[in-house]
């Protein structure tokens, strides 16, 4: 534990003083809404090209099997079927999907010879419509030799377990133990060591719109145009080109509006490869859009699936000393993003607390399930769950109030920037103030009285409490620093915009990120409005395809508002400075004496003489001789904003460096009622106080928090991928995999505290994942509190009716 000695060299000159801002911080109406609400945004499913075919996929009914033979002749004979491809045939057209792992775990979009999870693609079809394509899938005959399914990750670790990949010596694809600080000393010194074995289960993002692509291969100039809902078209387009077998400068990826992602569509290489292979095979554009069954079975967004053995060492007074985490993570059948989810978790494993040592022991295990991807929380979600469970348990064991033990251990406001044991830095915060505000907001004393009243009636009301971190704004090192010899030790996560002011003074911004369900148009417009003093409604925002040179890692890791603020402000200042120079030249003044106020350029403190945006725009575009000598024509700026504060990991990995330093914080207080006879948990109320630094737009932030809490309610109570002993997916549709509806969601009351980040423009931090990063553990805490008279302890989610009744029964019968 220490404070940061070296302040970031890239820190900005500071934000304007409070009260000076006009547009940053206001609930500007969301610019994206009208087209979305009217159904007029163009999604990948809306794209229609001349001669376009429709794809469908035949999927394996088995978790693990050898493909003995595939007979596609009957399918090919169906009128309207243009192509049927097996995995081997597809492999002649497209390459294996890119993976971030160093281990030899190849993955193709269509399985070759062997299927490794239920729902893995076995054959793909292109036909004149989707109905015929599905008829063709039904007509394909596949002979399988069923192999033993590896379902239980602990059993998968056994040396004699059936191996998922012959290229590996074991199903444990990766194992590493890392100690930070004096772990053994803290354990030895501890008065109490609280232990838990906790389970964090498989969930997925379940976006309303599934993943999809329209690929159009041009056989004459060997180029491909792809419409999709991927996020990485301006970040890793070369990786897509390699997979599609197209030279990098002949691939054009066009972003479509995205119907929700929650981290689920960064790469979506399967749909891109499938549409690409079918287009190459037919010479026609092919649309492949997953249906719900496709998406649930074979998506790229299943989240973490972990078993934790965790210990928290404490002094007698409740001071938290050290934390050990032994983690088994079930990665499923492939290792697409390597252990990036654990890199992510390393950003905040010790939470908001002054814990000085950490042991992180992780085993990444392969089983016969769909592979992990990224989903809101991205690896930090289970860590928050386990840490807060340990803290609650410590409070119980030490007889300290839940809020008090947190207060005693919070990093204090004067300790920021704070360097955590693994090396990541927290920029700023005031955790005790957030906690106090949440307790006040919830009216905690009133709920305690209500709890007493209901207990007298035999009813079980519970009050939850969780205080968690939300690391925001990642740097690429999190993907690879757990490797000593990473395959691609990238250090950039850039975000760029291209801005221009036209001859009539109109401002246009082209962003590199897609419209992924968040609000890039609104944020960019607010920043432009702030910098020029114009109305955000007057700013035009468009989306760049992959041929413009835009660089964008896009939304992910709650980074976009931070990064777009930086990119847009940078571009705006470049253009504004040039406009000031032109205006000063025209008005025969020193540029230092000219300011931009309300979209006009005028002498500081002397508003008499001024020029409008249009005056300067016309001059800059058409009157080269009337501008300063060293100014070229036009008002265009491209600004790339790189990560505002990151440091590399040390070679010995004793210090992972700062890679996720904009750290938001939240305290959630859910109120539940539990029926111990039926196991039904009902949310009665929900309170959240959030600190994401300067709030760019309160309405947008509230939307993010509420949406995240709803997904957290799903995590806590119902969402779950379940597999049978034979490896069959028992939750293949939304009748089995349950997501919360409005009926399961109480009114959610959100308030903010604003502790600006010293690292970012305006002091903003991210807010995209906080709801889901806090809600599951907060609701677990509430159920514990409700059933405290019965002695229940929640260490596994979701708290289904059956699981709750089981916990009550176990507690009554004295089972652990």
């Amino acid at each position: 534990m220490s404070t940061v000695e070296d302040r970031p060299t890239t820190a900005t000159t500071g934000s304007p003083r409070e009260g000076e801002r006009r547009w940053v911080g206001r609930s500007v109406p969301r610019k994206e809404d009208p087209k979305l609400l009217a159904g007029r945004a163009t999604f990948v499913g809306d794209v229609t090209l001349p001669g376009m075919l429709h794809g469908a996929v035949l999927r394996s009914p088995h978790a693990h099997a050898r493909i003995v033979s595939i007979d596609t002749s009957a399918a090919e004979a169906i009128p309207g079927v243009a192509a049927v491809l097996t995995g081997a045939q597809a492999a002649e057209l497209v390459n294996p999907m890119p993976a971030f792992c160093a281990e030899p775990v190849p993955q193709t979009a269509v399985a070759i010879e062997r299927v490794r999870y239920p729902g893995e693609a076995v054959a793909i079809v292109a036909a004149t419509d989707r109905y015929i394509a599905e008829d063709a899938c039904a007509a394909i005959r596949v002979e399988y030799e069923v192999l033993p399914a590896v379902v239980d990750p602990e059993a998968a670790m056994a040396p004699d377990a059936t191996r998922i990949h012959e290229t590996l010596d074991s199903n444990v694809a990766f194992h590493r133990t890392l100690d930070f600080g004096d772990v053994e000393g803290d354990l030895a010194r501890a008065h109490t060591v609280v232990r838990t074995r906790a389970r964090w289960h498989r969930m997925g993002a379940q976006p309303m719109e599934t993943a999809g692509a329209v690929a159009s291969w041009d056989p004459f100039d060997k180029s491909m145009t792809v419409y999709s809902n991927s996020n990485f078209h301006n970040f890793l387009p070369w990786a897509f080109a390699g997979m599609l077998g197209v030279s990098t400068n002949r691939l054009r990826m066009i972003p479509c509006a995205v119907g929700g992602s929650f981290g689920s569509k960064h790469f979506i290489t399967k749909v891109l490869a499938i549409a690409g292979a079918l287009s190459k095979a037919t010479g026609r554009p092919v649309q492949y859009l997953e249906d719900r069954v496709d998406n649930i079975a074979a998506n790229d967004n299943v989240g973490c699936d972990r078993i934790y053995d965790a210990e928290l060492a404490l002094a007698e007074d409740g001071e938290m000393l050290g934390l050990t985490l032994r983690i088994i993570d079930d990665y499923g059948a492939y290792f697409q993003f390597a252990h990036g989810q654990h890199g992510n978790a390393m950003a905040q494993p010790t939470g908001p607390y002054r814990i000085s040592s950490l042991r992180y022991d992780v085993s990444c295990v392969l089983t016969n399930k769909v592979q992990q991807g990224f989903f809101r929380g991205a690896g930090a979600d289970p860590g928050n769950f386990v840490l807060e469970r340990l803290v609650d348990k410590a409070a119980e064991q030490l007889g300290i109030d839940r809020a008090e033990i947190r207060r005693r251990n919070f990093i204090r406001p004067d300790q920021f920037p704070f360097k955590t044991p693994p090396g990541n830095v927290y920029d700023s915060g005031n955790y005790a103030a957030v906690l106090d505000k949440a307790l006040e907001l919830a009216g905690i004393d009133d709920w305690r009285a209500e709890q007493e009243r209901l207990r007298a009636e035999g009813r079980y009301l519970g009050i939850g409490l969780a205080t968690c971190q939300e690391r925001t704004g990642y740097n690429a090192s999190e993907w690879w620093f757990l490797y000593d010899n990473p395959p691609l030790p990238a250090t950039s996560t850039p975000e760029s915009v291209k801005m221009d002011v036209d001859a009539m003074g109109g401002v246009r911004v082209e962003v590199g990120c897609p419209l992924w369900g968040n609000s890039p148009e609104t944020v960019v417009s607010q920043v432009v409005a702030e910098e020029f003093g114009i109305d955000p409604a007057d700013v035009s925002v468009t989306y760049a395809d992959s041929t413009t040179g835009a660089m964008s890692a896009g939304p992910g890791g709650s980074r976009l508002t931070i990064m777009l603020s930086g990119a847009t402000r940078g571009a705006a200042r470049t253009i504004r400075d040039k406009m000031i120079r032109i205006a000063a030249h025209a008005m025969e003044m020193d540029p230092a004496d000219v300011e931009c106020v309300d979209g006009t350029f005028r002498a500081k403190g002397a508003p008499g003489t001024s020029m409008s945006m249009a005056d300067i725009g016309m001059r800059a575009h058409l009157f080269f001789h009337d501008t300063p000598e060293d100014e070229s024509s036009g008002l265009v700026a491209v600004h790339t904003y790189d990560h505002p504060y990151s440091t590399p990991p040390s070679a010995d990995r004793k210090d992972m460096g700062a890679f996720y330093p904009m750290v938001s914080h939240a305290c959630h207080i859910p109120i539940v009622e539990v029926d111990p006879e039926t196991g039904v948990v009902t949310l009665r109320a929900y309170y959240a106080v959030n600190d994401c630094g300067t709030v760019m737009n309160p309405t947008l932030v509230e939307g993010q928090i509420v949406g995240g809490i709803v997904q957290g309610i799903g995590a806590a109570l119902m969402e779950e991928y379940r597999y049978g002993e034979d490896g069959a997916l028992d939750t293949p549709t939304f009748r089995e995999y349950l997501v919360p509806s409005m009926h399961e969601v109480p009114e959610i009351v959100v308030e903010h505290l604003e502790t600006p980040s010293p690292f970012t423009e305006y002091g903003v931090k991210g807010a995209g994942e906080g709801g889901r990063l806090v809600a599951p553990t907060a609701i677990a805490s509430a159920v514990d509190d409700a059933l405290k008279p019965l002695g229940v302890w929640v260490d596994e989610l979701p708290m289904t009716p059956e699981r709750v009744v089981g916990m009550v029964t176990d507690a009554r019968e004295g089972r652990p």
């Binding site: 249906d291 196991g679 379940r722 349950l738």
Partner: protein
């Protein structure tokens, strides 16, 4: 999730519909509200070659109370929507259990399309309305080109999504005897979410004698077996008793006797037995109170 090809027929009257069903036999499915059938077809879990849409058949949308020589009977035709039944004053008066159970079926927009008869004929072992029909001692009116017959609810449901209907036969109505005086009913369920099929549900009617004892009861469970089932051991335990807490507890304890629930991801067989006991107790308490004329909500 696209259906296989099928022929769509839209008969203009009942005779035409019955002719079409006779012609296509087991290859045909009747389409009423489409809230179950269409989903199955999209998932290709059902691939009928012919769909007979009865929505244009006149007269099937009748919801009527008939007063013959015996007690009144409530009759719901094959295209009476669940929402219509749920909001009907006649249903509220003569078979309030049907309305109470019906309110648990999915969500209002689904109930505005889905039909009561469709849910009964679909025979989902977890569904509310078949259990309600069973508890109400209802019957199914089936017709084919060769005539009409009435099937007691006890005999209608034969297995998961299976009934005693013959190919070429369709359900034209369900009938429920109007509940008499001193009869109370209740429906309770545990569903994973509002509007989901229940993990387990209990429909109960209790009739009390003049002296307050339980003269008769019918307890039907959904989600507790391969079809909606009567909890006969519980019925026996309660019948003739004083209807007090002890008798209810005894009946509830026996509610799962003989059950063979099908476990799935929403609840194991054991958990469904547990819920059958808990919910039977709750349903009976409410039904007994209501039978005594006490307004008690679940």
């Amino acid at each position: 999730m696209k259906p296989a090809a099928f022929a769509y027929l839209a008969p203009r009257d009942l005779d035409e519909a019955l002719d079409q069903l006779a012609e296509h036999g087991a290859d045909a499915r009747v389409l009423a509200g489409g809230q179950s059938l269409v989903r199955l077809m999209n998932a290709r879990l059902a691939s009928p070659s012919v769909v007979v849409d009865i929505n244009r058949v006149p007269g099937l949308d009748a919801l009527a109370v008939t007063n013959g020589s015996g007690p009144a009977t409530l009759r719901l035709g094959a295209t009476v929507r669940q929402r219509t039944s749920e909001l009907s004053a006649d249903v509220a008066t003569h078979a309030p259990l049907l309305a109470e159970a019906g309110a648990h079926v999915a969500h209002a927009p689904v109930r505005s399309r889905g039909t009561v008869v469709g849910s009964v004929a679909f025979a989902d072992p977890s569904a509310e309305l078949p259990a309600a029909l069973l508890a109400l001692d209802g019957r199914v009116v089936a017709r084919s080109r060769s005539g009409e017959r009435t099937i007691e609810a006890d005999d209608f449901f034969t297995g998961p999504f299976r009934t005693s209907l013959d190919p070429g036969e369709m359900v034209v109505a369900v009938e429920v005897p109007a509940v008499g005086a001193r009869t109370g009913s209740a429906f309770v369920e545990v569903a994973r979410r509002h509007g989901d099929l229940p993990v387990c549900g209990v429909a109960a009617t209790v009739t009390r004698a003049d002296d307050g004892s339980v003269a008769g009861t019918r307890i039907a469970l959904c989600g507790a077996g391969e079809r909606p089932v009567r909890a006969r051991a519980a019925e026996d335990a309660l019948t003739g008793s004083d209807g007090g807490e002890g008798a209810v507890a005894e009946a509830a304890a026996r509610a799962a006797d003989g059950l063979s629930p099908i476990g799935d991801c929403h609840g194991s067989a054991d958990f469904r037995r547990h819920l059958a006991r808990v919910l039977t107790g709750r349903a009976l308490r409410t039904a007994i109170h209501r039978a005594a004329g006490e307004a008690t909500d679940v």
